[in-house]
C-alpha cells in the first residue's frame, strides 16, 4: 500500500528522534472497568518505539515489521498479522506529522474547530465506531478511539 511507503518516506524525513510521554486510559465495557497506564513514544527516523515502563512492554514499528517484546519473550509480526498495532501506529504517525491524507483510505475525516473526527470505512467499521483527537501547538491534547463494543481508549500527551 502507498500508505506504508509514505510512512517510510516520512519516517526518513526526520533527522532527529522525538520522545512523547503519554497517559492511556482504557475502558472495557464487558468488565465495566477502566485501566490506566503510562507510556512513551519514540519517533525515530526509521522506526517508532512504544514503551510501557510499568509492564516492561515494548513495541517497535518499522515499515517492514512489528516487534513486540516483554520481560519474557520477543515476537515479530508482519503488518498484516497485527492489525491493531498497524492501525495504531498509522494513526499516531499521521497525527504526529499532521498528515491526515494517509488516513483517507480507511476513514472519512471531519473537522469541527480544533477537534478532528475520523469515521471508519469498510471493514474497520465493524470494530471501530469513531476516533476523535485534538492537537494544539504540536501537542496532542487527546486521542480517543471509540469501539463498536462500547470500549474506548483515551490517550493524552503528558510532556
Amino acid at each position: 500500500m502507498v500508505k506504508l511507503l509514505l510512512i517510510g518516506i516520512l519516517l526518513l524525513q526526520f533527522s532527529y528522534a522525538k520522545d512523547i510521554t503519554f497517559s492511556e486510559k482504557r475502558y472495557i465495557y464487558a468488565i465495566d472497568n477502566e485501566f490506566s497506564k503510562n507510556g512513551k513514544l519514540f519517533m525515530e527516523p526509521q522506526r517508532v518505539v512504544l514503551e510501557y515502563p510499568q509492564t516492561h512492554k515494548k513495541v517497535i514499528y518499522t515499515k517492514d515489521f512489528i516487534q513486540i517484546s516483554d520481560e519474557e519473550k520477543t515476537e515479530s509480526f508482519t503488518h498484516e498479522e497485527n492489525h491493531q498495532y498497524k492501525l495504531f501506529f498509522t494513526l499516531v504517525i499521521a497525527i504526529y506529522n499532521n498528515d491526515l491524507e494517509q488516513l483517507q483510505e480507511n476513514f472519512e475525516i471531519k473537522k469541527n474547530k480544533e477537534e478532528v473526527t475520523l469515521l471508519p470505512k469498510e471493514q474497520i467499521v465493524s470494530v471501530i465506531k469513531k476516533i476523535s483527537f485534538e492537537k494544539t501547538k504540536e501537542r496532542l491534547k487527546y486521542l480517543t478511539i471509540y469501539f463498536q463494543n462500547q470500549d474506548r481508549i483515551t490517550i493524552e500527551q503528558t510532556n
Binding site: 500508505k3 468488565i31 495504531f88
Partner: protein, 694 residues
C-alpha cells in the same frame, strides 16, 4: 433519371448505413460462444449458470518474494481500488445477514468441546484475553464460550506463494455487464500492469475483452487482405476504378442489409456469422463478372440465364442449410441467402444502367493439357472413398471458440493457488428447494473440498443436532458465573438463545445463495475439486457445465441432420445442374466431385469440425455455379476469364480466412482455399470450350 441511377448504389448504401448506425444492430453482435450454440436445455442451463454465478473477481499477483513485494502488491491494489467498479472482496451482504440471524444453525457446533465444557475456566480465559489485548478485544456475545467454529471479523487476503510472490483478490462491481464497460476496466487494469513487469492480473472478464480484440484484429487483417486482392484485380487487371467502387458499395449494402435483417430474425448474431457473412457476400461478385464479361452491362440486358441459375442454386443450397438447428450454421445460411439475393438484384438490375464496357484481351487463359472428364470423375471418386475411411469428427465445440492459452494458464494458476487445487463448477438439481439444498449438503459432506452457498442454509438435521444440547442451561450457567469472574451483569443474557424451528424462506428470498428456477426444477452450482470431478458427475442430481460435454450429443445430432440436409442440397444442386446444362451434365458433375474429393484429402490430416463440413457444402454450391457457366452452350473465353476473376474474388472473400488465427474462421478458410484451388485445377485440366467458341 439517368444521372440519379448512376448514384443509386451509393444512395442505397448511404440509406442502409444510416439505418444501421441508428438501429441497435451493432449492440446485438455477440462474441460469446453461447450465441452460436444450438438452442435447447443445455444452452438455457448455461445461461442460468452465468446469471447465478455472478461474482466477478480480479486476481492480482506480484512475481517477487523480495521484502518489499507485499508492500508493492498493496500499492497496486490501492491503485486498482481507485476505479469505481473495483472493490475489496466482501461477503454477500444478504448472505452475511442471514448467517448472523441464524448464527447457531449456520455455524458448526464443536460437540467435543461442548461435552467437556468448563464454563468458569472458559470465562477466566476470556477475561484474561480482554485485559491483555493491546487496545481492544471483540467478544462474540453469541458464543463467548467458543463452542461454534467461526471466521474472524477482519481477514487477511494476501497470500504468499512459494517460488512466486504474493497474490490477492479484489471484487468487480456486479453491475458492469456491457462489453464497453469490460473494455474500459480492462484498459484501466492493463495500464497499471504496464508500470511493473512483475504484476500479473486476471479476471474472467478478460476472456471476453481479449477475444473481442483478437476477433477485431483478425477481421481487420482479413478485410485488408481481401480489399488488397480486389484492388489488384480491378485496378491492375481490369483497370476499372469505377467498377471497383460500385462493387465495394454494392457488397457493403448487401452486408448491411443482411446484418439488419438477420439481427431482426435472431435477436443476437454471433461475430463469426458476421465475418462469414462478409466473406460469403463476395461470392456475388460472380454475378457481376459474368454479366460484365458477356456484355450484359454494355447492352443494358438485365437477365442472364446462367447467372440466375447460378444464384438460384447457391441461394437455394443455403436456404436448405438454414434448416440446420446448429445456431451458427442457421445464422450463416440466412445471412448468405439475404446478402446474395440482394447483391444479385443490384448487379442484375442497376449495373446495366451504369455503362460498364467489358475489357478486351486482358488475361491469357493458360492451357496446360487436356484430361478426359471421365478420368477426373474417377479420380474424384477415389479421393472421396479414401476420405470416408480417414474421416474423424471433432465433437468439442469449444475448439471453435477463441483459444486464449495465456489467460487459461493465469486462470488455472490463481484459482489453484487460492483454492489449494484446481476447481471446477458443476450444476446441481432438485425437484423442490428442500431437495436442492439437501443435494448441496450431500455433495459437500461427501467431498469436503467442495463449496456451495447452499450449505449455509440449515436443514432439519442441523436443528436436530442443536436440540440434543440444553442451551438454556448453558445460558443460565454462563450468566451466573460471569459476574463472579468479573464481567458486568447481563453481559451474556442473549448468548445461546438458539432458534427452536428451522427458518422458512421462499425461492425469491434464497436467490442470493445462487439458486435459479429452470422449468419445474431448482438449480444451483457447486465448486468441486477437479480430481473428484468424474466421480461427482455420477451423482444423479449433478450435471456437467463443460461446453464440450454438454454439446457433444447436440453436435452429433447436428452432424446427422447436416448429413441429411447435405443430401437434400446435393439433390437440389444436381437438379439445377441438369436444368441448366442438360447435355454436359456429367462433365459439369466434376465441379461437385473434384472439389469434394480434394477437400476430402484434408480429412487425412485434420479432424473435421462442423464448420469444415458446412463449408464443404458451401464450396460445392459455389463450384456448381462454375459448372453451370463452363458447361453451357454459350461458353467462350470470356466465360473462362469471368470464372477466373470470380475465383480470385471468392478467394479474396473466403480464402483469406485461412489467415485467421481463430479456429472457426480458419476452418472455413482452409476448406475454401483448398476448394478454390481444386476448382482452378479443374478449369485448367478439363477443357470446357465448345467447338464453336474455339
Amino acid at each position: 433519371m439517368n444521372k440519379q441511377i448512376k448514384y443509386l448504389n451509393f444512395i442505397i448504401f448511404a440509406v442502409l448505413l444510416l439505418f444501421f448506425s441508428l438501429s441497435s444492430t451493432q449492440k446485438n453482435i455477440s462474441t460469446n460462444i453461447l450465441s452460436i450454440l444450438p438452442d435447447g436445455d443445455n444452452k438455457e442451463l448455461l445461461k442460468k449458470f452465468e446469471n447465478i454465478h455472478n461474482t466477478k473477481l480480479l486476481f492480482i499477483g506480484y512475481k517477487s518474494l523480495d521484502k518489499n513485494s507485499l508492500e508493492k502488491l498493496k500499492q497496486i491494489e490501492k491503485k486498482l481500488l481507485e476505479n469505481q467498479h473495483i472493490k475489496k472482496l466482501a461477503k454477500n451482504k444478504l448472505i452475511e445477514e442471514y448467517e448472523k440471524k441464524h448464527y447457531y444453525l449456520t455455524n458448526t457446533i464443536d460437540t467435543k468441546k461442548l461435552e467437556k465444557l468448563d464454563t468458569h475456566k472458559e470465562l477466566q480465559t476470556l477475561y484474561q484475553q480482554i485485559v491483555a489485548a493491546p487496545f481492544n478485544f471483540q467478544i462474540d456475545t453469541k458464543d463467548p464460550l467458543n463452542i461454534f467454529q467461526k471466521n474472524s471479523a477482519v481477514k487477511s487476503l494476501y497470500f504468499k506463494i512459494k517460488e512466486y510472490g504474493y497474490i490477492t483478490i479484489l471484487q468487480l462491481d456486479n453491475s458492469i455487464d456491457t462489453m464497453q464497460e469490460y473494455q474500459e476496466l480492462y484498459d484501466f487494469t492493463k495500464k497499471i500492469q504496464l508500470e511493473d513487469s512483475n504484476i500479473e492480473l486476471f479476471s474472467s472478464l478478460f476472456y471476453y475483452v481479449e477475444s473481442q480484440n483478437k476477433i477485431k484484429r483478425d477481421t481487420n487483417t482479413i478485410i485488408f487482405i481481401a480489399v488488397f486482392i480486389l484492388v489488384i484485380l480491378y485496378l491492375l487487371i481490369l483497370k476499372n476504378l469505377k467498377l471497383l467502387l460500385n462493387t465495394l458499395v454494392t457488397l457493403g449494402s448487401s452486408i448491411l442489409f443482411a446484418l439488419i435483417v438477420t439481427v431482426g430474425i435472431f435477436g443476437e448474431l454471433s461475430i463469426f456469422s458476421v465475418i462469414f457473412g462478409i466473406s460469403i457476400s463476395t461470392i456475388a461478385i460472380d454475378y457481376m463478372f459474368h454479366n460484365y464479361m458477356h456484355g450484359f452491362y454494355e447492352n443494358k440486358k438485365t437477365l442472364n440465364k446462367d447467372v440466375f441459375y447460378g444464384m438460384f442454386t447457391t441461394v437455394g443450397a443455403f436456404f436448405i442449410l438454414s434448416f440446420c438447428e446448429f445456431k451458427l450454421i442457421e445464422q450463416l445460411s440466412f445471412f448468405a441467402v439475404i446478402s446474395l439475393f440482394f447483391s444479385y438484384l443490384q448487379f442484375s438490375f442497376i449495373y446495366p444502367y451504369l455503362g460498364f464496357i467489358p475489357p478486351k484481351n486482358i488475361l491469357k487463359y493458360p492451357k496446360i493439357f487436356f484430361v478426359k472428364p471421365s478420368y477426373i470423375t474417377l479420380l474424384s471418386l477415389v479421393f472421396i472413398v479414401f476420405s470416408l475411411f480417414t474421416f474423424k469428427f471433432d465433437l468439442d465445440i469449444k475448439n471453435l471458440d477463441v483459444q486464449n492459452k495465456k489467460l487459461q494458464q493465469l486462470d488455472e494458476f490463481f484459482t489453484t493457488q487460492i483454492n489449494g487445487d484446481k476447481k471446477i463448477a458443476v450444476l446441481i438439481f432438485g425437484n423442490t428447494l428442500k431437495e436442492l439444498i439437501e443435494n448441496g449438503h450431500t455433495l459437500v459432506n461427501k467431498y469436503p473440498n467442495s463449496f456451495t452457498n447452499l450449505t449455509k442454509i440449515p436443514l432439519e438435521k442441523d436443528l436436530q443436532i442443536l436440540e440434543q444440547y440444553d442451551f438454556d442451561k448453558i445460558n443460565q450457567e454462563l450468566n451466573s458465573i460471569a459476574p463472579q469472574v468479573g464481567f458486568r451483569a447481563k453481559m451474556f443474557q442473549d448468548s445461546y438463545k438458539q432458534e427452536k424451528t428451522l427458518p422458512q424462506y421462499n425461492f425469491e428470498q434464497l436467490k442470493e445463495f445462487g439458486i435459479a428456477q429452470y422449468k419445474t426444477q431448482y438449480i444451483s452450482y457447486v465448486i468441486v475439486s477437479k480430481k473428484n470431478y468424474n466421480e461427482i458427475l455420477q451423482e444423479p442430481f449433478v450435471k456437467s457445465l463443460s461446453v464440450k460435454e454438454l454439446f457433444q450429443a447436440d453436435l452429433k445430432n447436428t452432424f446427422e441432420s447436416l448429413k441429411l440436409l447435405a443430401g437434400f442440397t446435393i439433390l437440389f444442386i444436381l437438379f439445377m445442374l441438369y436444368l441448366s446444362v442438360k447435355r454436359n451434365f456429367f462433365k459439369a458433375l466434376n465441379y461437385i466431385l473434384f472439389p469434394l474429393g480434394i477437400i476430402g484429402i484434408l480429412a487425412y490430416f485434420i479432424e473435421f469440425n462442423i464448420l469444415h463440413i458446412f463449408m464443404m457444402i458451401v464450396i460445392v454450391s459455389i463450384s456448381i455455379d462454375y459448372g453451370i457457366y463452363m458447361n453451357n452452350t454459350t461458353v467462350d473465353t470470356q466465360t473462362q476469364k469471368a470464372v477466373v476473376y470470380s475465383l480470385l474474388s471468392t478467394f479474396a472473400g473466403f480464402g483469406v480466412l485461412i489467415f485467421s488465427s481463430l479456429n472457426a474462421l480458419f476452418s472455413i478458410g482452409i476448406v475454401a482455399t483448398v476448394g478454390i484451388v481444386a476448382i482452378m485445377i479443374l478449369l485448367l485440366l478439363q477443357n470446357n470450350l465448345n467447338e464453336e467458341a474455339k
